[in-house]
Amino acid sequence: MLVSYNKIGKGYIMLSTYISMLIALLIFIVLFINSFDAISQVGLKLFTLEWNPSKNEYGILSMLYGTLSVTVIALTIAIPLGIGTAIFTSEILPSAYRIYVKSIIELLAGIPSIIYGLIGIAFFSTWIASFFELASGRTILTAGILLSIMILPTIVTLSDDAINNVPKKYREAAKGLGLYPFEVIKNTVLPIAKKDITGAILLALGRALGETMAVMLLIGSIDKIPTPFYNVLSPGQTITSKLGREIGESAFGSLHFSALNTMGFVLMLLVIILTLITQLYLRKSNRLYE
């Protein structure tokens, strides 16, 4: 009987693994098939700056730039802030309060992105506009900052778990050797939690790359790479905001539709490549350990 239970359990686990793998693969394939027209007809011209469906020009570079710059801004703000907060909640805050602080932070993660977008339009962009004396506060920077707030809870709660999961014995061993509290955190706890913290960042990265609604409302939606390219106080466009805006007006099966799919495909490739790089890096840096 035990054996058959084991078999059922194993079968169940295998089946669910296969199903999720299949779904991921199917999405990839469907995206690729739908992109095929654009890839074969537009070819390398996909990587140009002009996007004009009426002239059959489908350059995605500005959108790619927008996606990357918004994500970089969001991560640059959210990673140090998030890990700092996680260190505070897990190491410094008395454990009686930890659960409350964490619940509040987790609540932030549950707010729908359209709400963030609305708040962003109502306050954020006007602040940015008046602070930098701009005509419009809808810029790449605005979207990036808002996005950083949106991904912050993910980084905080998952890093907090990661740090909290480091067994107490390591802290005590380090303390017993006379390390100062911050040395214990920096040289003992964080290195052990590093892998899980990276996982948290990856998840946040995925959300940042994929976030549509709030970014669409705040980025200004102009298909252009600003001049100079680092001037993030100009409006821009991300892959997702472009998709969100245009997918409804493109006819199914048209070249326009296919080009939009290609952008989705590129976005997915981006996520996969970033994940692979991180995992490879982690495996390499962890070779000495365990």
Partner: protein, 271 residues
Amino acid sequence: MELKELKEPIADIKNNTETIINVSGFNVTFGETRVLKDIAVSFYERQVNCIIGPSGSGKSTLLRSINRINEGTDQIDINGMISFKNTDIYGKDRDLTLLRKEIGMVFQRPCVFPRSILENVVFGIQHHQKLSKAEKLEIAETQLKAVSLWTEVSSRLHEPAHSLSIGQQQRLCIARALAVKPSVLLMDEPTSSLDPVSSRVIEELMSELKKEYTIVLVTHNIAQAQRISDHLIFMCEGKVIESGDKEKLFCNPDKIQTKTYLKDEYCDCNQ
């Protein structure tokens, strides 16, 4: 000639009645439960001071109070006095880092960091002073030799410490504690997760180490206490029932509970 050589160190130890750590009127409470009750006890320099007693009697709590590693535990309340070399350990502006540098600790289960063997040995000391690569190697060699681990690991210093056996890991932890150059070594049942052979290796090591270090050892193992201790402290239900010379406690204890415990490993402290 040979006899004399053997005799001298023994006489030496016997004559050494210098205390290095003195505990008096010491109480620890976790929440509502009082775990240590009015403890008064001394630990002698360059001896193996052995704390024995039934499970839950507060041995670990007492040991962990000496380097103040219990602090930060929720709902803990500590009062009383522990002095180390005639200075108050619980003094207001005591630097915990310096205290723990002087009083090292080895835990029940070996806890190596996920780093290489070499990095583990120098992990503590490199936070107290800057070390060059050569110095690190030198310290590693000295300390690994001190715990007789050198021959086993000299060719694999850069391998992960987790690849060692548990007994080897425990010796690595001792080497790591020694590298910081403490004068006291607190050991909380350091052999309880080890096999008999590795335990004996560590026991021999302790007998060797007491020439230079003061050892405070918690053990469940009465035979072990008999083999290696000089000074014995018997605790039960948060109180020190009796303390004194090993011979005295084993042969001619003052308290009936001590006698019962050492003989039958049984204790009813309310007798």
